[in-house]
Symmetry: C2
Subunit: 332 residues, 2 copies
DNA sequence: ATCTGTCTGTCAATCGATTGCAAAGAGTGA
DNA sequence: TCACTCTTTGCAATCGATTGACAGACAGAT
């Protein structure tokens, strides 16, 4: 940049202003064009680390995900990134994405790194109770937004899906189909999502007089391999359930494969419902009934919160979570 | 940091040295401990943007992936990140991860951003022919490493799987099973991976006198939804193939679901093989025969290349790609 | 002729850490 | 005691951009 300025015979500050978006009007239009042309021609690339140092902002947002392989999380992240860079006047924000694998130590380490890199905000889709303290600390330095997973103890601005409502919808659907005995295959408890889905589901079952086996079935990981192993537990429950609510689609798919191996018919022998509506749910030979996660809504809201907080606005009122919708397919 | 130095009555440079990993021996052990303790107590966090500006290094690596939902790419990235931060003496390197969706415009934009952010290196798992120019330009400024997808025209240091060999292995397996007529469901051509798999497969078929239908079957996207649609094309081929090589597992799974809908038996009516060995391949009621992608090997090698090049070593000889292994399951 | 105001552009400080150079102090051998 | 080495610390420049304060030119008004 120094070179550029010298070659044009103007000051570095003039170059800076000519190239900037918002201060460009401070420069004569003639000089501005001259500078821009020259910058283009010489392949000048502004150094964002220097810019970040000078303004307090790095134009960077830290994003924490529990698992990069999960389609739903990725969907939310995509929406967030898209929304962050869509506004016309906004300078491009680079996301720093990292995976916690639900390990609190990793979450802590990553948050420290983000703070050291002076991110303008942190978005956590990976919050567990174990992370409350770190997140609270971080929130004293930069805006912290929660998405997908809430954290009751913290009251940070959040973009959420109403998982309770989602669980309830499934239970009502089972009731409407005439099921009298049902069960859940629950995801790991460290995330609020699964707790809420379970509560919403059970509440409606109780209300409608539908029977749930006393012993809860817990999947250690919410993936298809684990789901496949859980069919045994489902079949052992007595009385045998005629419908299963899996806490996410991966679990549901695992269950379905296990059922196929045993020659069980879906939904005649057992009905299955999932949660999230991942793409695979439509591809299955018996397409899966599932609760469509409001990916776009959650992502857009998270992005909007981030932008507003970075702009210096006060944290808004907690807004209502987005209510998901049931997608009925052949598996129920 | 200034504050810290003043409170301790030492110079900022002393603080810097005391806290650094490699220059710590320049400071009296007594002062060093004092500084460290105080830093800890006051919650001091070094500003990495400032550090990045002063040394030429940002301790940051840019990573490009075509698709964040692809288990194989994510696996490679995980390995790379792990390997980058494993060495004891190495300072933590933060990856900047972004998705190109195989859109050249996005790839270009992301690379520009990385360069502006002064990444120490770029790793592209997303290279297509359309990206050759940008990558070549970038390679003049920072080390650029290719992984997973090669680029013949460029001869950049690469960490690759021998896709040709992978395709060949499948063909030999089909031959061993006695198939006389087989076909491929090919992935999109913009990636070298799929081209190589096709070539390796066809070469062996020709050698063994196995018949492939003249009209090649191309899937526009290598995902399960598209795979499901491709079964029609497979069944229309004449003579009808008795085995299908899908260029990745997602395509294979789509095919399998379509076959289930039609009541075709696997492998009796048609055998199916995939590529990558994603987790789902084992979960299927008819577990999928597939080529296990050498995720670890590719990832580790990529990381090693990055470290070596960042350290200033010259680009090494192109090393041989890693040969994948066939995993035989019930689908063939 | 003087004043006011607008438009351009320059000067110089600043962000927070790193590092080459030099100086102060301690220790050693002659 | 002197000269010399070695360790520890301070000084000040530096990385590359941004920005508040300010100066010069010029037009129009009084």
């Amino acid at each position: 940049m120094k070179e550029l300025a010298e070659r044009l015979g103007v000051d570095r500050s003039t170059v800076s202003r000519a190239l900037s978006e918002d201060k460009a009007h401070l420069v004569g239009s003639e000089t501005r064009e001259k500078v821009r042309k020259m910058a283009m021609a010489s392949g000048y690339r502004p150094d964002l680390t220097a810019a970040a140092l000078r303004r307090g902002r790095s134009q960077t947002v830290g994003v924490l995900v529990p698992d990069l392989e999960n389609e739903t999380f990725i969907g939310v992240i995509r929406t967030i990134i898209g929304a962050l860079n869509s506004g016309a006047g906004t300078p491009a924000t680079t996301p720093l994405i990292a995976e916690t694998q639900d390990r609190p130590a990793d979450a802590r380490r990553l948050i420290e790194t983000y703070l050291s890199r002076r991110v303008d905000a942190i978005i956590s889709l990976a919050s567990t109770e174990a992370d409350e303290e770190v997140l609270a600390e971080a929130a004293r330095e930069v805006p912290v937004i929660l998405a997908v997973r809430s954290l009751a103890a913290l009251s940070l601005p959040s973009a959420l899906c109403d998982d309770r409502a989602g669980g309830a919808i499934v239970a009502r659907h089972f009731a409407a189909c005439g099921h009298k005995t049902v069960c859940q295959v629950r995801g790991p408890l460290l995330a609020t999502t699964f707790k809420n889905r379970a509560q919403g589901f059970s509440a409606v079952c109780a209300e409608k007089g539908i029977h749930e086996p006393a012993a809860a079935i817990h999947a250690e990981h919410a993936n298809s391999a684990t789901g496949k192993q859980m069919l045994d537990a489902v079949m052992r429950a007595s009385p045998r359930p005629t419908a299963v609510f899996a806490h996410n689609d991966a679990l549901a798919i695992g269950l379905i494969e296990a059922m196929r191996e045993r020659g069980l018919r879906i939904p005649e022998d057992i009905a299955v419902a999932g949660f999230n509506d991942i793409k695979m749910a439509q591809v299955l030979a018996t397409p899966l009934t599932t609760v469509a996660y409001p990916i776009e809504a959650v992502g857009r809201h998270a992005a909007q919160l981030v932008r507003s907080l970075i702009a210096g606005n006060p944290a808004p009122e907690q807004s209502a979570p987005f209510v998901p919708e049931l997608v009925i397919r052949r598996s129920t």
